[in-house]
């Protein structure tokens, strides 16, 4: 094992560049998935006919597929039907497709956890259904959703490493490039990379726990 060689400044810089791509992809994906997740979750909660059933089938299908398969699909299979995405967009679209389905379930169960009496009270004080949803139900549900959404973000951050199959230049990919140079780098690099993921994810999980605690 060659710790000194593995942690050469050039390697550290290279890993950091990879980590920035990881964080960037994770951040863009979570923002987009959050928006789609809320839209899908609300549609399924309000049970808009046809659309709601259609989305139910779609969400269940996606949730039951491996993310890796979806990444393969957006990068390798979509060009065959004329939709060519570069690595970054293929990875982000795959993550957004998968995570939107996951988040929509969090949103839906968050909405359903709000007492029905709230709707009845709001409606009988003259609010329309849309207003009730926007001003009464969503704000309360969103607060309850924060901890599971943070956990989902942790999963997403870990899952960006799957984009190594399409050699997106993220952290795992850069780690593997360094590992390819010398077999003695492998273990030191894996230790460092593990800690990079761990520090960010563990901090997030502490935040999520704190939020959960405060709500009680």
């Amino acid at each position: 094992m060659d710790f000194a060689g593995a942690y050469a400044p050039a390697h550290l810089k290279f890993l950091l560049q990879g980590f920035l791509v990881t964080l960037e992809v994770a951040f863009i994906s979570i923002v987009l998935s959050f928006i789609f997740g809320i839209v899908i979750g609300v549609i399924r909660y309000t049970k808009i006919p046809v659309l709601s059933q259609l989305l139910a089938v779609l969400v269940e299908t996606i949730r039951n597929l491996p993310l890796l398969l979806i990444i393969f699909f957006t990068y390798f299979a979509l060009p065959e039907v004329g939709l060519k995405l570069d690595k970054l967009y293929a990875a982000i679209s795959a993550l957004v497709i998968f995570e939107s389905a996951m988040l929509s379930e969090i949103v839906r169960s968050g909405l359903q956890s709000i007492d029905k009496g709230q709707i009845e009270a709001a409606r009988s004080s003259g609010l329309t259904y849309g207003q009730t949803l926007w001003y009464i139900i969503l704000p309360q549900a969103l607060r309850r959703m924060v901890p599971p959404i943070v956990s989902q973000f942790i999963s997403l951050l870990k899952d960006t490493s799957l984009a190594i199959v399409i050699s997106l230049p993220e952290l795992m990919n850069h780690a593997q490039i360094i590992n390819g140079r010398n077999v003695n780098f492998v273990i030191p690099i894996f230790i460092l990379v593990a800690f990079m993921y761990f520090i960010v994810n563990y901090s997030l999980s502490l935040v999520s726990r704190r939020l959960e605690y405060r709500q009680r």
Partner: protein, 217 residues
């Protein structure tokens, strides 16, 4: 329109991958149930140093990517002379990763049993281990089964990382078939269907168990 001829012509290859995916998932499930139970016991046992080891394992493993763990078995350990074939490395990686989640499911199940149960059992003369074995665990099992089911679904999906290290699973064979036929779209749709054949019944089963458990309370 999907070219079903691809599915028919390469049925054997699909089946090989499907078999390995099931095999890896089941082996990793058995392994991670055993390892996860030990970690859960470490976390709740009234012995401080064991608690620390259990917590460190769960927190560390849960916060790093599965791909990294699989790579450690596939490339990291061989660098110090411990070698596995790709299927074994992938399955071991899956086991180590899933054990952390299973340990958490078991721990929270055990801790969901009211404290008074343990106190009552202890004061009626049972030792700590007897109280665990005869009073706490039988009640915890019911609570733990649905989350364990969810972990198994995740395990089946996660087994696709074997594809990253050529671990002979469905993803690997999908890759193989698409490089033979120069077709990707249809090949991966069929791969997806094979995964759904496994995961959808499991999801329905877990949902059913969850609802029944909710009613039983």
């Amino acid at each position: 329109m999907l070219r079903f001829s691809i599915l028919v012509e390469h049925w054997d290859l699909y089946m090989q991958g499907f078999g390995h995916t099931i095999k890896a998932s089941v082996l990793a499930l058995i392994g991670s149930l055993a390892l996860g139970t030990i970690i859960a016991i470490f976390r709740i046992a009234p012995i401080r140093p064991l608690n620390w080891i259990g917590t460190a394992y769960v927190e560390f493993i849960r916060n790093i990517p599965l791909v990294l763990i699989v790579f450690v078995f596939f490339m990291g350990l061989p660098a110090v002379g411990i070698r596995f074939d790709s299927f074994t490395a992938g399955t071991l990686g899956l086991m180590v990763y899933t054990a952390a989640f299973i340990a958490e499911a078991i721990r929270s199940g055990i801790q969901a049993v009211p404290k008074g149960q343990m106190e009552a059992a202890r004061s009626s003369g049972l030792t700590y281990l007897q109280a665990m074995r005869y009073v706490i665990l039988p009640q915890a099992v019911k609570i733990v089964i649905p989350p364990l089911g969810n972990q198994f679904i995740n395990l089946v999906k996660n087994s696709s990382v074997l594809g990253v290290i050529a671990g002979l699973d469905l993803m690997y064979y999908g890759d193989l078939i698409s490089s033979k036929t120069f077709v990707t779209f249809d090949v991966y749709i069929f791969v997806a269907l094979f995964y759904l054949v496994l995961t959808i019944p499991l999801s329905l089963g877990v949902g059913y168990l969850e609802r029944r458990l909710l009613k039983a309370r």
